[in-house]
Point group: D2
Chain length 341, copies 4
Amino acid sequence: MLTVGVIGCGYWGPNLIRNFINLKDARVKTASDLSEDRLNHMKMLYPSLETTTDYKTIIADPEIEAVVIATPVSTHAGIASEALEAGKHVFCEKPLTRTVEEGVKLVELAEKADRTLMVGHTFVYTAAVNKIRDLIKAGDLGDIYYMSTSRVNLGLFQEDINVVWDLAPHDVSIMNYILESRPVAVSAVGHSYIQPDIQDVAFLTLRYPGSILANLQVSWLNPNKIRATTVVGSKKMLVYDDIASLEKIRIYDKGVDVIPHYDTFGEFQLAYRYGDISIPKLEDAEPLKIECQHFIDCINGTASRSSGKHGLEVLLVLDAADRSMAAAGTEIKIEYPKALK
Amino acid sequence: MLTVGVIGCGYWGPNLIRNFINLKDARVKTASDLSEDRLNHMKMLYPSLETTTDYKTIIADPEIEAVVIATPVSTHAGIASEALEAGKHVFCEKPLTRTVEEGVKLVELAEKADRTLMVGHTFVYTAAVNKIRDLIKAGDLGDIYYMSTSRVNLGLFQEDINVVWDLAPHDVSIMNYILESRPVAVSAVGHSYIQPDIQDVAFLTLRYPGSILANLQVSWLNPNKIRATTVVGSKKMLVYDDIASLEKIRIYDKGVDVIPHYDTFGEFQLAYRYGDISIPKLEDAEPLKIECQHFIDCINGTASRSSGKHGLEVLLVLDAADRSMAAAGTEIKIEYPKALK
Amino acid sequence: MLTVGVIGCGYWGPNLIRNFINLKDARVKTASDLSEDRLNHMKMLYPSLETTTDYKTIIADPEIEAVVIATPVSTHAGIASEALEAGKHVFCEKPLTRTVEEGVKLVELAEKADRTLMVGHTFVYTAAVNKIRDLIKAGDLGDIYYMSTSRVNLGLFQEDINVVWDLAPHDVSIMNYILESRPVAVSAVGHSYIQPDIQDVAFLTLRYPGSILANLQVSWLNPNKIRATTVVGSKKMLVYDDIASLEKIRIYDKGVDVIPHYDTFGEFQLAYRYGDISIPKLEDAEPLKIECQHFIDCINGTASRSSGKHGLEVLLVLDAADRSMAAAGTEIKIEYPKALK
Amino acid sequence: MLTVGVIGCGYWGPNLIRNFINLKDARVKTASDLSEDRLNHMKMLYPSLETTTDYKTIIADPEIEAVVIATPVSTHAGIASEALEAGKHVFCEKPLTRTVEEGVKLVELAEKADRTLMVGHTFVYTAAVNKIRDLIKAGDLGDIYYMSTSRVNLGLFQEDINVVWDLAPHDVSIMNYILESRPVAVSAVGHSYIQPDIQDVAFLTLRYPGSILANLQVSWLNPNKIRATTVVGSKKMLVYDDIASLEKIRIYDKGVDVIPHYDTFGEFQLAYRYGDISIPKLEDAEPLKIECQHFIDCINGTASRSSGKHGLEVLLVLDAADRSMAAAGTEIKIEYPKALK
């Protein structure tokens, strides 16, 4: 039975509390937040929960073995360092830290302290993303040519990070995970429409080894929420729509590639498809539950799907994208630090 | 009654023949193609049609007032010049020519000869694209922030042009038309997966005046055909899906932009939408019929929606994209020639 | 603060427990179930909950003011009677009872005891159904002509009731609610494919006053879950898809009703739509939360949207459907009892 | 080379003319219509076509071997009889005739005259319907339990037949064809909302041998066009949406049929699907082209998929539906006449 403290009860923290509470192998002893209101709300939902406005109470509690951090990004490095130094295991929401430097230090600190450091890249715990990874590994899609993703919605506008740091961590963590690879270069173009100097729309192009390209669209300005990922391989194409409640993955089998001549408008319209489509059934579990259980398993020795190192790899891509946007889209090569060699 | 000759009866030519034949104000006297088979097929469909394997027969025919060109791109400049010099009006399939230089010459030649030169940018004749233009002009979408497009399918692989020259003319002509503007800079990343040195996948970012960005995806490698355009404005967002047979345009009204805290997974999932969606009814006419009629009207003095100059503006974007791809995505500023000032 | 006891922790009971616990004005003191396993699971989720395998403990507890019943249908009448006689308010899952006779007695008993009797017709608490009711009341759809519904899925096969009693209560309660009316006659055809004498597929036709027809399809044999309701009026048509996560209601505006002659296959295909479509934004609340709050409000004097009487009206339709199925589809007129006059 | 005359150039006739003209083995010599306007329009499209306002000119023309009838239903029997008696082969639009009696006589006449009599049940020539038939024959769906269909749209209101006779022939011909069977009984409920005594909405239930039920919805009052057919078998379920341009058939594979207990609203929502879905690729040919070619093949000895006898079987179902509607939905047993034994 792992005793957990959760720091931050804003947007995502309550989901983490609920999931850790529901696990057989964990209990949440204490939750902290700067807002009394949020704490009262948590207390109403979970009467046995202890609450505090000072996160240091959690860090100092010898009974608490693991700390879950769901606070604004700029505070991650500080809180996580304190927790690791106090001998706690750390589960930190994404992105891991605000800068690459902070991330490197944190990864090194976790290694030195021999504690588990995990990042909340939830998507690598979904049935859909694991299905895609399995299909790629089994060669079902053939050689991967390129990927494109859209992750757009209306707000939540962040004040301490731009849209790339807010949304792209999902896509980069997914792509690194399904390809078992990491990009070598990034070019990005973005713009700040609403808040000065904080991009709210950006288009990124990543180059992975083996001539795999990836085009990412991230935006806070779309009234309609889209979370779509397309993976095009030499044999098949896959479209992953995370918004769809039932049919998240569609696999398009490539058929005839010769299109006959058309003499009427009607026949022309009928010519759009090329092969069978299949929509595999996916398991129904809540990804966050799996992720929380995985954190416990990692503490007990399992290799992590979203370790601090994975989180740091993602930071390097975000950082390169920032630098490319500052240089009008010029491609930036990524230099992975020693900690990731 | 306009007498027309059609050069090229391959993929698109038969559609042009059928539409010109069905117009009250035109008749198709002659069709030419290098393949006897295609000519025989045309003859079977339209017994009164004259056919020839030598397009110069059409150019030389004094009865023919207008020439329609649906041949491979690299032949456009040559055939169109001959036709204009012979005093014919010219309707040329897109892209106008293989190079910017050829395009400039052709535009100047048409001006000198005082003949109508029109490019087959069919989409500017669709009900959907004109609806979008009207909505933007009326201010319904608010200030335009950015656009993104996907134009992807499996093949037809071209041998004389890359995927940018094959597919992006549609998107660029649509965007120039609905914004009544033209881009000032282009950056592009592409790759040649199948044929050496002919990109089959590319991602373009265009900058229009007024900080409007546009991200384009074009690909010959997708087993699934997509023709989607998203326009995000300060008031509303619009999605145009040209594949949809009935519901081509969806307008998303922007609603609440504050998202409350969520305590359960279920409520969280319900939070995706932000306002009403409306799907306007569009007229049912075949765009090509309208385009062919428009060509006749232009000959009679109407200002063209897709004149040679419009076609040349598109070429300048394609050319800049090629240069950007060659420079690893570096942004290329577009210098519009004197003919377009 | 209302003190509640919940009887039955199987499929639906846990949802009721969770919702009553989360309400400010209620607390769940005790839950009962025949299965120790289910009770242990409830205990794990809500440590402060008391549990018992004997529901009579709940009935006998003077502190408990209201009893929530989520047990198999055949036990509803017995448990609810005991609860009402013990002076408790009763919230009973649908259908209210196994027979019309039981239902009549229960409604009369609640009236005599002056206690609130409410039936769990959850759908009348959804944003979608209330939107439809509002649109009809406001005359937006014009005169209602007819409705059709599909409520089909794979299982859960019931052992004590057929598919009509299992699924049709939803549709009948929705239709009675949105029309503010009740059917005068029913004809039904069904078949028992899997279990002898328990219909697993049935088609019902209801006649409402004012020549309004309704066709219902209910089935336990569909691998795909459908919950669709179509309402056709003289002005507009509405389609309600309860499975859709985002776009539950579509309103089709009626346009041109003259279809021109078509000469080509292509134009013919383009002629399917007749007017604009609109997709209104709906509120995101969990219906069950609203329903549970409504139960408390009803105890405090609010008129119920799904009172015992409403539940009994539904039973009369189900009973008539059973009799029609036994008579090969012959139409059965419904005689509403004195209690519903 | 078959010489054809087409009688009727209204809604559907032009499609028949175009298709017969485009076939290698046929030529359309003459078209007749009561409207000079329609004839002029045909002449403009096909300059070599002869036209007449008197269909008897076609019947009397010895050069014409086959007559295609696309006139109002009530005229079918008279024109077709004259044509058969004049030794012509006859292709008649659906429904075959206005009454069962007329249909019986026509079938007997064709047999006596030894001429091909074919009915325009176009759907049995579509790739989708033939795919369904193949899947059923191969046992892929298992035992067929039941079918349900919706064939609804706004208008075209007919003056000589009700909505059952207008739309249900499609569904009945499809179901008879895919099951290789014919119904034994029909019950139907309908209503006349717009024109007195001409039902514009109807719900039919058909019983086929082997306890197969079919529920049909037909309506002229729906602003939205639907053409959907669901076939539920013991192994798989199939949904056929004829409006979809690309994904007409979806096959749902049946998976888990035990649904676990749910404790949160979120997980509950995720439980909708039960197995993989597959969307087979279908051929792109225009069904009418295949049907017209099939008519020629039948004249040359091929067994017909939609012979006069098939058309007569459909009439018997329509007639039984009319009688059931007149008897408030009472089930009517179908007595197939000697000509169909």
